[in-house]
């Protein structure tokens, strides 16, 4: 079968580390163009990976490519994906699909009008442990879910190539929108649609670096969630079901631990040799294959546009009910509860 001509918009860290190796290993696509406003960056990566064109704008892609990966800063997802979809280019958009629901809807209408496939880059769904958990939880193997708690640290060693991620204007949010959407997507995939009960984060006119969420599943089970860029966390999700409890670590640790009501436990990793030998290449490779399959067969990708929109909607609802998250040593709250020396003496 003829290879699909592929372009990548945005040459930041995720493109260099994950998308390009996945593309190189794929027999389904041929890399023809790399796009970045910093032309030298696009040119350097194009040369290294054998792309024939290095372009400064995505507007030069239609006609040149059949499919595109949009890995630009968040505020550009909607305009770029919309324009490419209108021009008949199928797109895989990095997470989050966009900054707001309104932006997601722009992409959605363009895709509907032109009939192209839009897939969303929630790559965590391709982690073996995540798929096993989906099998166990969506089918209620352990009975109905009673409660869940997720505590996850984020991106401590991510090699950011630009500061956009720390600008509210450009990123649209902090650890919740940038990273938390991965976890919200998994929880929604495992447990069904969620609703927001309460939300708190630590931002002071910047983007949140730590947040706490209280959510509910459709059947009313309480889901709590803590995300942070500041400190180590448990980095697992604990799901208590009627007949037992599952603890799931997607990566570092990649583990699934089952505890039955009588206390007996079983722990291990989801067996997957390809993943074991090259985790991220496998995950991004499978994401790309799924996208190609959807384009070729005209089917839905694993993460369709409405599910990318679903988590952006949750994030928007969180921000709408935001309360400040404060620590005892914050300023000037640090003084509350402490009388100064002068007051005492």
């Amino acid at each position: 079968m003829k290879r699909l001509r592929l372009g990548i918009v945005g040459c930041g860290a995720v493109t260099e580390r994950y998308h390009l190796p996945a593309v190189a290993a794929s027999a389904d696509v041929e890399l023809v163009a790399l796009v970045d406003p910093v032309r030298e960056r696009a040119a350097a990566l194009a040369q290294e990976h054998g792309a024939t064109r290095a372009l400064a704008s995505h507007t030069d892609l239609p006609g040149v490519v059949d499919v595109a990966i949009v890995a630009a800063p968040n505020h550009l997802h909607a305009p770029i994906a919309t324009e490419l979809a209108q021009a008949g280019v199928h797109v895989l958009v990095e997470k989050p699909l966009a900054r707001t629901v309104a932006e997601c809807d722009e992409i959605s209408s363009a895709a509907r009008a032109s009939g192209v496939v839009v897939a969303v880059g929630h790559d965590f769904r391709h982690f073996p442990v995540a798929q096993l958990a989906r099998g166990l939880l969506a089918d209620q193997v352990l009975g109905p879910v009673q409660a869940a708690d997720l505590q996850q640290s984020a991106g401590g060693r991510w090699p950011y190539a630009s500061t956009y991620v720390f600008s509210r204007e450009q990123s649209g949010g902090g650890v919740l929108l940038d990273f938390g959407v991965h976890m919200l997507d998994l929880l929604s995939w495992w447990l069904g649609d969620l609703s927001v009960r309460a939300y708190a984060d630590d931002t002071v006119a910047g983007v949140e670096t730590e947040c706490e969420l209280a959510l509910d599943t459709g059947s009313g089970a309480a889901v709590t969630m803590g995300l942070t860029r500041l400190r180590p966390m448990r980095d697992t999700t604990i799901v208590r079901c009627e007949r037992g409890t599952l603890e799931i670590g997607i990566f570092e640790p990649a583990v699934i631990r089952l505890t039955l009501r009588d206390g007996s436990t079983l722990a291990g990793d989801a067996h997957d040799p390809a993943f074991a030998s090259a985790p991220m290449r496998t995950v991004f490779g499978r994401q790309l294959s799924d996208f190609v399959r959807a384009v070729r067969l005209g089917e839905e990708p694993l993460v369709p546009i409405r599910e990318g929109r679903r988590v952006v909607d949750l994030v928007e609802r969180c921000y709408a009910v935001r309360t400040p998250l404060r620590r005892p040593w914050d300023w000037p709250e640090a003084y509350s509860g402490i009388r100064s020396v002068h007051e005492r003496t």
Partner: protein
Amino acid sequence: MSGPELLAGRRVLVTGATGFVGARLAERLVVECGAVVRVLSRTIGRCAPLSRLPVEIAIGDLLDPASLDAAAAGCDLVLHCARGTDGSERERRAVDVDGTRNLLVASLRAGVSRFLHTSTVVVYDLPGSGELDERARRGGPSDPYADAKRDAETLVLGYAARLPVTVVQPTVVYGPRAGVYGRDVLEELRTTRIPLVNGGSGICNALYVDDLVTAMFLAATSERAPGETFLVSGPEHPTWGEFFGGFERMLGMTRTVPMSERDALAHWKRSKRRSWLLPEALRAVRGDPDLRAELLATREGRLVRRVAERVLPAGYFAPERWIDRRSEIAGPAPAEPPLAAFKPQVVRFLASTARVRIDKARELLGYEPEFRLEDGLGLTEEWARWEGLLAP
């Protein structure tokens, strides 16, 4: 008007803002003072913790003068908190001294109205007892960190005629996110026992980070500060026994071992005595079957074994000769972790009962520290628990 009010709307460049003091300084400059803050950082990732604030990130390096020109451009004040933390002694010194020089040059070019340099009390020759103020002799035992900070301070004060420079000399700075007097103390107490020099009777001139930041606000804005140096310490003079005791209480364990200054120095000397590599290695290999198997499986290991089989008596490699001696050698699990040894200059620092005086900062700046050790350690404990450094 006090320091914070005078900083409202001012454009401030903070170096070292991804570190302990600098991060707190940047945070309060934004939240409390309403200053417009730019931070200098070598990498974007390090700025993640600051991203909850509206700070501008200037990617640069103290050893790259061009990046400093860009970072200082348009700034009204430069608050210099960075110090060398990575690499060799030489590289750290380069950051401390050459980096400070580069930043002074950039600040001069940018026409800043104040350059605040964060020095340290260790630039002084700390007496064994009595009191210490800014008139004390600079110098003392040679130590790479102290030497670099002394040289940097001299550089800064040398610019006084051309640039409004001010130097603060903090004492023992602790608080949430502290490295040396926070994370490191907890880690040491968790994994080792440490000498409590002279039973902990030495004076710890403890300074809670927010008191230091308050002093820096005052020093950066006071009209009386240019050309001056200020020692900055806390409201009390607790002992090292009280300081370490606070951390031991957080951990719920006693890990300090009272000993005299002389014994602490002797312990250091003993700990420096090195044994020979070969006997140590052989002992380790004989005692650990896993390690032995691993080593014997290497190319060199196989070669050694082939040679040895020819030379040594038959049966030497029989398994019964190599019984697991781990238990024999190590004995039962040690009841107590090893006793850490402090360098002589650290022992002397911990033994000193000298009290740091802050009269100059009080008088010229109106500085008044507020956090008693008990209060500061209370907040430090809450942070340490949150950070996962203490059991939940």
